[in-house]
Point group: C2
Chain length 269, copies 2
Amino acid sequence: MKGGAAIGIFDSGIGGLTVAREIAARLPHETLIYLGDTARLPYGSKSAETVIKYAVRNVSFLKKHELKAIVVACNTASAVVLPALREIVDIPVLGVIEPGAQAAVAATRDGTIGIIGQPGTIRSGRYETAVLQRLPNATVYSLATPLLVPLAEEGWLGTEVSRLVLKEYLAPLMEREIDTLVLGCTHYPLFKPEIAKLCADTFKLDVVLVDSAVSITTELEQHLAMLVQLNETGAPRHRFFATDSAETFRQVGAAFWGGEFPQVLHIDL
Amino acid sequence: MKGGAAIGIFDSGIGGLTVAREIAARLPHETLIYLGDTARLPYGSKSAETVIKYAVRNVSFLKKHELKAIVVACNTASAVVLPALREIVDIPVLGVIEPGAQAAVAATRDGTIGIIGQPGTIRSGRYETAVLQRLPNATVYSLATPLLVPLAEEGWLGTEVSRLVLKEYLAPLMEREIDTLVLGCTHYPLFKPEIAKLCADTFKLDVVLVDSAVSITTELEQHLAMLVQLNETGAPRHRFFATDSAETFRQVGAAFWGGEFPQVLHIDL
């Protein structure tokens, strides 16, 4: 019966749909209840206190559904809200930071790791701590790259502007010859081809790019398998909620989700 | 006694400080009570319903002070919230759209006017309507230029990136040979020198740039003078409130306000 419960996911907006999409693809029998707090986005530029307040409100809403796990898809929220959320629910709450750090440690050849994220994520120092707990000899360089979110949302992917911005942002990390780069924001995987090309062609470096949507899905799968809660059959019945306009969520989100939404409802929180 | 009351101003964040700064410079004996709703910024990408909800909450807070007028410094809010606000207060509520349209109509030589703004402002069509009410023969071209806000906030002013973005955004307006351009967002005046250079050097056009901070200050001054409420003497005692971190407001806002703040308080709305 417990296996029939859904997986709750929340994010500041539509970026977390890259995480939801990865989960839906790899765990195709699980139902997802997704909440995008689009009325208050972005979280990445806001203080920890404010982000915690919003996250608690999001989870109070998600809890109204029968859930077996909650995924915090937003990197900034994952960095600061997990302890507060674990106080108000008795199911597993998973964030993207730990799996991302785990994947970086597994990927690095000489322990020189770069992290890019939104200001709130970088300010928290959580990725750095999570890497160093696993690999105390690692050298970690963290950098806030805030402009990548609006560039992705406004469709400037693959342009001369995005190339210049990425080059300017990444130069200091590349000078330190990182061999692994954590894309510490749900929007950044959209720049993967451009970053890979810059690393190889401009900076002449072989850099592994870590996408936290992939690593958290692995963690979630292991977690559910361990608890014997993985659904092996049955069609999912995903539901999507947005705190700002459902119509805008449907339009802008389609590119992140990779297709039409079965249903998006507006919810006032 | 009424002249001793303050002027309330609110904005989605720090951008409205360009308006507050202009008012403080030209009406140096008026006290300003400024509220930046930094916990919910930006407004420009959100729906009218959500922006109205936030604006009503902001004004309910400002009303706790003794006020003689309220200035809506945010263009998106000015476009959609004035009727709702005029229902809940009995003092004048001024937005930036009407004065900006008025200044554009006064400046244009042949009636071909461009408007740039955030998506919510452009979507509302309010600038266009306000221009056409005053100059029915005008030809108005409106364009959403969302990336300019993060570029300004992240300090990319005067870079190759900002030049490329501005050139790409403005090209379709310049092809139509506008002679007046309304900078319909509080952040855009920071790009004034770059836009002026692009118009003259790249597009070879003589374009008047309309800054709504200047035009709303003129309107406010006339309004207060007419009601015999202008303060001619006395030192102002400005107060600043932010719904997210007061510290961040102080740091990022200093460039917009043009100096140190006397005091910034966090307020939870």
